[in-house]
C-alpha cells in the first residue's frame, strides 16, 4: 500500500500570499481600488446622512424625514448593485490574467479550495483597503451634505460626537468587504474550477 495524504495550505499561508499579492499588485489594482473607495464613499455618505436625519426625526416630524430616508435607501441599493457589477468585472479580469498562475499552483499541489482561499482573501483585502478610504471620505461627505441641508446649527451637536464618525467608517468598511466578497463569488468559483492542463495551455 502506498502512503496517501492530502496537500495542505494553511490559512496563515493563504493570508500571507494574498496580502503579498495585493501589496505587489497595488499599482495595477489602484483603479479597482479607487472604484471601490468611490462607491463606498457614496454609500457611506448616504448612510451618515440618514443617521443624522434620524436624529431629527422627532423634531421635524416623520413627514419630512421619511421620504428622504426612503430615497437614501433606494440610492444605496442602486449604488451597491453598480459596485457589485464593477468589482465582479475587475475580479474576472484579474482571474483571466492569472489562469496560468492558477494552473501552476494546481501542479504544485493546490486544490480548488486552496485557490478559493487565496482569491477570497484577496477580495477581502481589497474590500478592507477600499472600505477604509471610502468610509473616511464618505463620512465627511455625509456630514457636509447634512450641513448643507439642515444648517450647521442643527448638525453641530451631532458633528461633535466622535461616535458618528466611527460608525460611518466602520459601516463603510464592513459594507465594502461584504460587497467585495459578494462580487467575487462568481470569479472565485471560476478560478477554482480551472483545470490544470487547460490552464497551462492558456496563453495570455
Amino acid at each position: 500500500m502506498v502512503e496517501q495524504g492530502h496537500s495542505s495550505f494553511p490559512l496563515s499561508e493563504a493570508l500571507a500570499m494574498s496580502a503579498q499579492s495585493v501589496r505587489l499588485r497595488l499599482g495595477r489594482m489602484l483603479i479597482v481600488l479607487g472604484g471601490v473607495a468611490l462607491a463606498v464613499a457614496f454609500l457611506t455618505s448616504l448612510y451618515v446622512m440618514k443617521d443624522v436625519l434620524a436624529g431629527f426625526a422627532e423634531r421635524m416630524g416623520p413627514e419630512e424625514t421619511t421620504p428622504v430616508v426612503a430615497m437614501g435607501n433606494w440610492w444605496m441599493a442602486v449604488a451597491a448593485l453598480i459596485t457589485i457589477t464593477g468589482i465582479t468585472n475587475a475580479m474576472l479580469m484579474s482571474v483571466t490574467e492569472r489562469v496560468k498562475e492558477i494552473g501552476t499552483l494546481k501542479c504544485l499541489g493546490a486544490t480548488w479550495l486552496h485557490i478559493l482561499q487565496i482569491f477570497l482573501f484577496e477580495a477581502a483585502f481589497l474590500g478592507l483597503l477600499g472600505g477604509v478610504a471610502g468610509g473616511v471620505v464618505g463620512t465627511l461627505l455625509g456630514m457636509l451634505s447634512a450641513t448643507g441641508q439642515l444648517g450647521w446649527e442643527m448638525v453641530a451637536p451631532v458633528a461633535k460626537n466622535p461616535l458618528i464618525y466611527l460608525a460611518g467608517i466602520g459601516w463603510g468598511t464592513l459594507a465594502s468587504v461584504v460587497l467585495c466578497l459578494m462580487s467575487s463569488i462568481y470569479p472565485v468559483y471560476y478560478a477554482a474550477r480551472i483545470e490544470a492542463a487547460e490552464a497551462l495551455r492558456y496563453e495570455v
Partner: protein, 253 residues
Amino acid sequence: MAQNVSEEQYAVLVEGVKKYYYMGGTTVKASDGVDLSIKRGEYVSIMGPSGSGKTTLFNLVGGLDKPTEGRIFIDKTDISKLDAYELAWLRCRKIGYIFQTFNLIPIMTAVQNVMLPMIFAGVPKKERQQRGEHLLEMVGLADRKDHKPTELSGGQQQRVAIARAFANNPAIVLADEPTGNLDLKTGLAIIELMVKMNRENGITVMCNTHDLKIIDASDRIVWMRDGQVERVEDRSSIKLQVGDMEDGSGEGE
C-alpha cells in the same frame, strides 16, 4: 485506490494509454496506445516532431489530464483511481513540473517559489527555508534568492523552476521543452543542470525536448510519432544512430 505493481523499480508505468479529442466529427488521436516504463533514477528524453503527442504525454503522466483509455502508474499508484484531492497530493509529493515558460509565481521571490511546493507538502517553515536555500545553491542561484522572477533572466528563472520541481524529492520530474524559450548556450546549461540534479539526487526525469544535444546525457530516448512510441533507444545504441536525428523536424512547426 492505490494498486501495487510487481515491478518495484519503476517510477512510471504507462500501459496502453490513449487520449482522444473529439472535435466536431473528427477524432484527434493525441496519444494512440502508448506503452512506456521508466525506471527509478533514469533520465529519459522524449523526442518527436511537433504534434506527435509529447505534451499530451506530459499532461497524462503528470496527472493533469485523464487518458481516454489505459492506465498510468506513478510510484506504484494507479493515478486514474485517485480523486481530486489525492491527485493534488500526488502532484505535490510525487511529481515535479518544469515548463517551457518557467511559470514562476510572479509575486514571489526565488526562494518563496522554491518553498511553495513544500508548503503544500506540509514541511515546517524552518526546514522549508533551509531546503529552499540549499536547492537554490544547487542550481547556482544562492545570491539571487530574494529576487523576483522579473528581475531574473530566462535561464535563471528556469533554474529556479528546476529547484522548485525537485523541492519535495518527487518520484519523477517532468519537463516539457524546458529549453524552448532559451538560447542555445543557456539551454545547454539548463539541460546540464537537469542531468546533474538527476544524477546527484537520483530523481527520475522525463524530458520532452527538440534539443538533440541532450542525446548524450539521456539514459534513453523515446521517439514519438502520431501519438505512438516509434522507437526507444538506449544510451549505448544512441551514438550509432546519429543519422536518424534529422527526422526530428516536424509538420507545421
